[in-house]
Structure formats: C-alpha cells, structure tokens
Amino acid sequence: MSSTKIFLKSSDDKTFEIDETAARASETLKNIIDGGCLDGVIPLPNVSSNILPKVIEYCKKHGGDNGSSKKIANGGVDKDKEILPDYDEEEDKREKVRVDELKKWEEEYMDFDQQVLYDLMLAANYLHIKGLLDLTVEKAASMIRGRTPDQIRENFNINSDFTPEEEEEMILIEDEWDDEWAFD
C-alpha cells in the first residue's frame, strides 16, 4: 500500500510525488483518494511549488496519524497504558523518546520565515491537515502573546488604521492577569 504514489501539481505547474499513506494526512487528499480518483495528477491551485515540498515533508513525517507531538504525548501514551495491564517501562521510554524526537523535528521543521508561515497555514487549511494547521496557528499566536500593540504590528507588518482620536480614547488597563494557561 505504501508503494502507491500520488502526484500533486502546484499552482505553478510543478509536479511532486508523495506516498499515498503520507497523502492521507490531508483530509482533502484522503477524500479524493477514497473517491477513487487516483488516476493522473491532483492539481492544487492554491499551493505553490515553494510550499508544497514543505507540506509533503510534514505529511511524510506524520503518515497516517494526524496529531502534533502534543497530542501524541497527551493522548496516545495514556491510552496504551490503559490497554496494557502490565505497565511496560521500556515501551513507555521508547514512546517518550519518540515524542521528544517528534518535538525536536517539529521545532526544526517550523524554523522558517514568516512568509512561509502564512502560506503554509493557508495550505494546511486548504488541504485540511489539522496537525500542521495547529502548528502554524500556534506559532502565529506565540507572536501575539505578551506583546504590546506596537510590537504586534511590527511582528506582522500591520499598520494601525485607528484615527488618532480613537487611539486617545482607548483606555488600556494594565491588568495583572496570570498567564499560566497561555502555554497549555
């Protein structure tokens, strides 16, 4: 099954190859594959050739599963423990290593320019790759957290379109909310 290849065509007419199992990480591609329309090339008019390899890289890493490292760490391991009455320390250790490795991989994977971030987010949204969407959205959110309005504008290259009067009217209270769940 893993040998079945699928061809994806980017918006700028470049063709890329991906294993079917990897492609199933995308809900959109999965639906097409399950629809029995595997013949030929799947055109992706919303994804350019500089983003598509990045998407494929993610899909390859995540194959069938759809979660990020966090999901696996929270859900997968515990579930296994419940099923296995004998608590396997070795297995647990291996799982931990796997999660750590995945986290490290995600960190390296997510090390790119902002430009790529938005395109990747759009592609993940369009191809319905939940894990990748989570990763990209989370990264954008981390650029907002704990920043002043000016810093946020600078981060995202946004111009304030409030009138000076409006800005004056805004009364920002220096709140002292705890930030403890920010990184949940």
């Binding site: 918006s11 700028d12 007419d13 470049k14 959109t28 097409i32 629809g35 029995g36 329309c37 013949d39 030929g40 799947i42 055109p43 008019p45 919303n46 350019s48 050739s49 500089n50 902002q114 430009q115 938005y118 395109d119 987010m121 759009l122 949204n125 369009y126 969407l133 959205v137 989370e138 954008a140 959110a141 907002i144 957290r145 704990g146 920043r147 002043t148 309005p149 946020i152 504008r153 995202f156 290259n157 946004i158 111009n159 304030s160 379109d161 409030f162 800005e167 805004m170 009364i171 920002l172 209270i173 709140d175 002292e176 909310w177 705890d178 930030d179 769940w181 920010a182």
Partner: protein, 422 residues
C-alpha cells in the same frame, strides 16, 4: 469513466479554492492565485507583488490564531487595528474560545468607593485570591451624573461584557480588554431595582416610584425601550431570569402608606411584597405572580441551573429556598426549602449586612458585600463567632452542601456581583 470521476472530484476541490464572498476583502491573495495558476513563468514577480501577509489571511484563520492567545494578551490584540478589534468583538470569536476551552466562569464584583471604582475578579475554578483593578469609570461619566448614580448599581453580563446599571448612568466594562465605555442610561431613574438578562438583552423593573414600566436594553443598538407595565410597583426588588422569564422578586410595596420611609433605619416598618412577578420575554406576557416563602423579606436572590434561589430573612431565622423555573419540567413553579447558609443560627439580618447572590453554573454564590456578622451578633448581645466580613459562601445544588469561597477583598465593600464567562 475515470475522467468523469476525476472532474467531479476536481470541481469540488476547485470550488473550495474560491474565497467566500464575505472574505473577498481579506482573501484577495487566494483569488489572485487561483486566477494566475496557469502562468508559471512569472513566479518571482508574483511573489514580490502578492506576498502573503498576516493581514491577507482569511478571517477564519486569523480568528483561529487570535483564539489561542491568552486572556492577558487580548487587550493588546484589540488595539492593533480595526479588523482585529472587530474580529475580537465578534460572537464567532467568543464561540471559538469556548470551543477551545478558553472561557472561564469568573465572578466579578464592582464597588464604587470614595477612592474610585474597583473591579475584582475571581476565577471560579481556582482558589486564588481576587484580583482587584481600578476602573477608569469616573472618566467616562460626567461627575454630576456619577455622584449618587451607582450606590445600588446592578451588574449584568452579556458574553464577556459587564453592564453596570446605575440610577442615571450606565457603564459597560469589557472583561477582556479592560475598556470602560459609557452606555445609555435607563429611561426612568431607578434604585434598588430588579435586573436580569434574557437572550442577550437586559430587562429592568421596579425601583422607581413614578413608573411601573419594564424596560429592555438592546446592547447592539445601545437603546432602551419600555416593553411592559408591571402588575405592581416594587422597591428593593431583585431580578433573575430562567427559561426566558424575567422575575422581579420581593422588595417593598410602593404606593402603600410607607413609601417615603424607605431610607434610614431597619426595614420593619415597610410592607414586604412577598411575591414575585413573572414576565415572559418572548411572548411579552405576564405569567401568574407567585408567592415567595420565608416571611417575604428577600435578602438576596439569583438564578442558577434552571432554578431561582432566594435567601429570606424572617424575625427568627434565615431561610434558603429553591424555586423550579424550568417551564417544561413537571415541577415548574414549586418551592422547596434547601439547606441554609452556614451562618450563626437565628441571626436576623438588618440593613447593615448585605449579601449579593450570584448563580455560577449549577452553583449559588452568596457574597457578603457589606457589614459584619459579628457586629450583628454583638448588637443582639450574643457572643461573636469570629465571622469575618466579605464572606463568600458557595452552595452546590447538586450535592446540597455549602462550602467557603475566597474572601472578598476589603476594598470591595458595597459591591455588586455578577458571573461572567470570559
């Protein structure tokens, strides 16, 4: 056959590429890309002139990003630009935060003191102390209106916004951004009136000697209108809402011989309106008024979990009652006495001790906003029990038990309270 299958699959795929008409303004990058997909030779040129930016992301993705930001970053985010502030303002955003589990039941108290207007908040899922902030409320209301307007203010919450209803003024406090905005006051000046929110609107009645009007406030249009006339005039009544019914509970009868003596010493001389009036908001009709048990002096009341809870004070005791407000249940309209709050037996509350009652999910919070139980006991020549001020008592309707909450800070005396999901 394969081809027809293909084309069906692709047409579905292509369809999802075209931006939603509502997103055209923000989603122009997508539109450009889809139309330019055939030209592959001008990639460099294109990437320069139509670079994807954060601002070009469609609303749903931007909302997704913003919904993961912590509460403390929301004030900053709302000041970035118009679009962000509008997105944060939308009910889509509120719903998204709820679905991400980022909404917390938070008890808010607002106190108007000589030193300023204080807001204190306490998240119900934690044991942490209350957080107190000074509200710039005086700045947004003219001083001449401000004075005396808020001595018996009522708080109403609609989504994450708190409406502070005073006699001649109203203020809106945004629990996310911390901003304070003046809103239109009620048509008739009221004091110690009943207020409750039903389906995103606020209803008030009572607290005015010259009118029996029930007013409705629409936050969208910032406007008040009279929707009904009450069957009787009340002063000192308390509002609550269950199942689309606005309840005006207890208080004193207005129009009797004791009208002008409401101020000052105890309330003994007055005639209690030991009833509550039920106004069905949707059908704009009054339902049959009900008697309130426990001697008729309603000290505090609120709605929680489909019920109305009433703390009644009588010459010999305090009693706590539950009324079934679920109109489709067989028990609709039934009263049942439940466990009294853990206060010294036979304590008789007078006007020096005041409680605010707030429904939080299925729980009822009794917040002592004024006075000291010890003083009460001392006055009736009984020994003190070391009961502090600012008690917060929590009644769990499910378990039928009371427990202690985190004490209200001292600066919050005479506060009004409300529960906000934010």
């Amino acid at each position: 056959m394969t081809e027809s299958c293909n084309s069906r699959g692709f047409s579905w795929l292509m369809k999802s590429c075209f931006p939603n008409p509502q997103e055209i303004r923000h989603g122009n990058t997508i539109a450009i890309r889809a139309s330019e997909q055939s030209s592959s030779d001008n990639r460099d040129h294109r990437s320069q002139s139509h670079q994807t930016s954060f601002s070009s992301l469609p609303d749903d993705l931007l909302l997704e990003c913003l919904s993961r930001v912590s509460l403390c970053s929301l004030p900053s985010a709302s000041l970035v630009c118009r679009r962000w502030s509008q997105l944060l303002d939308s009910s889509d955003f509120y719903d998204l935060r709820r679905s991400h589990g980022h909404l917390y039941r938070t008890l808010f108290a607002v106190a108007f003191t000589d030193f300023g207007v204080y807001a204190a908040s306490h998240r119900m899922d934690t044991d942490r102390e209350w957080k107190t902030t000074l509200l710039p409320a005086v700045e947004v209301v003219a001083p001449e209106t401000f004075d005396g307007s808020f001595s018996h203010a009522r708080l109403m919450a609609i989504e994450r916004r708190i409406y502070i209803l005073g006699r001649n003024a109203m203020i809106r406090y945004d629990a996310w951004t911390g901003t304070v905005t003046p809103r239109l006051p009620m048509i008739f000046p009221r004091k110690k009136f009943a207020a409750a929110s039903v389906a995103g609107k606020i209803y008030v009645s009572g607290g005015a000697s010259r009118t029996s009007a029930v007013e409705e406030y629409d936050p969208e249009s910032n406007s008040w209108c009279v929707v009904a006339e009450s069957p009787r005039r009340r002063y000192g009544c308390i509002g609550a809402a269950v199942d689309g019914v606005f309840y005006s509970i207890g208080g004193l009868k207005i129009g009797g011989p004791h009208v002008e003596t409401t101020r000052g010493v105890g309330t003994e001389a007055h005639v209690y309106a030991s009833t509550m009036d039920l106004y069905d908001v949707e059908s704009k009709a009054w339902l049959r008024s009900r008697a309130v048990p426990g001697g008729g002096c309603v000290v505090a009341a609120c709605a929680a979990g489909g019920h109305i809870f009433v703390l009644a004070s009588h010459a010999v005791e305090l009693s706590f009652w539950r009324y079934d407000g679920r109109r489709k249940s067989g028990g609709f309209g039934e009263w049942c006495r439940v466990k009294s709050p853990p206060l010294p037996a036979q304590v008789r509350l007078d006007s020096t001790v005041r409680f605010s009652c707030v429904g939080v999910g299925d729980k009822v919070l009794l917040v002592q906003v004024l006075g000291s139980i010890d003083d009460l006991l001392r006055r009736s020549r009984r020994s003190c029990r070391g009961m502090k001020e600012g008690l917060v008592l929590v009644y769990d309707n499910e378990a039928g038990e009371w427990s202690r909450g985190v004490y209200l800070p001292e600066v919050m005396r005479r506060a009004a309270c409300v529960c906000v999901e934010c």
